[in-house]
């Protein structure tokens, strides 16, 4: 952390290197990503001890559902990008609509995931079945909770955007929330290939 951290008002920074959103949300995002990074590294470590077992059980995962979910999250992120752009043009109505669409993408993700979990839990799989499933369930569940938190943030942003809280003069809060939502997306883009696809 530099000496100037958390004291500079981003609005005072030169526009070329302006940090979108609040510095505090970036510290938060980095901490979250660090937690997932340690989790991913632990997965790699555990897998290296028993590659065959991991590969075997990886085949039981629903890759189509995972791929569809990836599409949903990337699309959701795209809507949120469009929302921030609309806010910068002072078009609050369009911004709110796009935040709403982003929220729906998140809801779609959760729905797909619930079906996926139902199938796995229905087959009697649990955290204690084996190390692969332990990681599969833990990682996707922690991510699942982050999607929910991201959607709560989007819901708040939707309400505030409709009230015209963000515009070309100040879209600080919206950018902060958008950055968090992109993180949820980014984590999945690492998680999906790592757990579902890579062999």
């Amino acid at each position: 952390m530099t000496d100037t951290s958390l004291a500079l008002d981003p609005a005072e920074m030169p526009s070329a290197r302006r940090l979108p959103g609040d510095l505090a949300i970036w510290v938060f995002i980095l901490a979250e990503m660090l937690a997932f990074a340690v989790f991913f590294a632990s997965y790699a470590f555990a897998r290296s001890k028993d590659v065959e077992m991991f590969n075997f059980y990886q085949q039981t995962l629903d890759r189509n559902a995972g791929a569809f979910n990836t599409l949903l999250l990337v699309t959701g992120s795209w809507f949120v990008v469009l929302a921030v752009q609309a806010a910068h043009r002072d078009d609050s109505r369009a911004a709110a609509r796009r935040i709403g669409l982003g929220f729906l993408c998140g809801a779609g993700f959760l729905t797909v995931k619930v079906f996926e979990y139902a199938a796995k839990f229905g087959a009697g799989i649990s955290l204690s079945t084996n190390t692969f499933y332990m990681f599969y369930i833990s990682l996707t569940f922690f991510h699942f909770m982050h999607v929910i938190l991201g959607m709560v943030i989007l819901a708040i942003l939707w309400v505030k955007t409709r009230q015209g809280a963000y515009g070309s003069r100040d879209a600080h809060g919206l950018e902060s929330g958008a950055a968090y939502w992109h993180m949820v997306d980014l984590l999945w883009i690492v998680l999906f290939p790592l757990v579902y696809v890579m062999r």
């Binding site: 952390m1 000496d3 958390l6 938060f28 660090l34 955290l127 204690s128």
Partner: protein
Amino acid sequence: MQYKSQAVAKPYFIAAIGLFVAQILFGLILGLQYVIGDFLFPHIPFNVARMVHTNALIVWLLMGFMGGAYYMIPEEAETELFSPKLALAMFWIFLVAAALTVAGYLLVPYSTLAAMTGNDILETMGREFLEQPLITKVGIVIVALAFLFNISMTVLKGKKTSISLVLLLGLWGLAVFFLFSFYNPVNVVLDKFFWWWTVHLWVEGVWELILGAFLAFVLIKTTGVDREVIEKWLYVIVTLTLITGIIGTGHHYYWIGTPEYWQWWGSIFSALEPIPFFAMTVFAFNMVNRRRREHPNKAAVLWALGTGVMAFLGAGIWGFLHTLAPVNYYTHGTQITAAHGHMAFYGAYVMVNLTIISYAMPILRGRAANSNKSQVMEMWSFWLMTIAIVFITLFLTAAGILQVWLQRASDTPLPFMVAQDKIALFYWMREWTGVVFLIGLLVYVASFFVGGREEKAA
């Protein structure tokens, strides 16, 4: 002081320091019993001395938290305390209950105490740190609820700042998690599982919020840095604490009969627990470096910086040392744990209490800061106690490493008591360092009675 009702903090602080002295005296008795097993036997057996040592610590820290909150909340909320009378009444109830409990520990056998205090109605006794008789536990809940009611009402009628909200969150959490001390299932795994909900979620969860709020308050007052900046830091620290600390509870679930995934969850999340403590260190130094005024109370600033450093070392580094499951497989329950426990409690919670006491006490006694002479003495006590605890920690760490080697890792492991005999040298060194700590504490107490030219009240 700005608000008359802040004065109720004073008796809390005085009692806290008194119990601190008792805690250290019993610590020295205990330390000696490690090497002279029958010292003071049968009058004060080891298990009783240990109970008094740990319970006195917890109670004086709670006293300090309450006093600190009573001092801080009126100033933050910019209004008088909801009921100073209730606060004083609770002080006496708490103090008398604590004294009676300690007297009970010392005067009658523990089983007799249990029979005398209705442990058969609801069995809650006999568990480490939660040894208090049922009536004491109920008393703690009543005092805590009255205290929370008092400060919550004060905040509700006054200004709601981020710092007081974080403090309230921490204090309410403290009360809620204490309720698990009443839950004592017969199944030992479940017993331990929920026992940690009080013990771990206190010190590695909600207490950290209290710590952060106190530190933020003293830093605002002594450095003059903008509240906005300090509050943002506080939010970051609180978030990091909760992300890592809650599931970090898992590092206690490795070997107690809980499912194996706790070894992963506990390792991963608790490996990140040093981060909020590191953020606190950076926070404290950053704010003092960009200070806008020279506060006359230099001792308080020293304690604040010390908290940042020592909490990170004791809780962060010494915690990380043995938090990963493969390491903990060898180290759990050894002197490594004791080393971590001593430095973490001192660095985080003793020091933050001494920070708020150091800042508030002169003001409660009608001056902005103590005389230079008194502050110099206080700073001497800071260094004596802090260096002593560093060496206590190092000696216990050495003892722990040897113990792990002799008793667990070696090809020909020795029985526990044989290994203990072989590490006795480190226990002796710890005991002498403990004497230095006591001297530091006595210098600290003496600094309150030193006169000289004092800074006038602001």
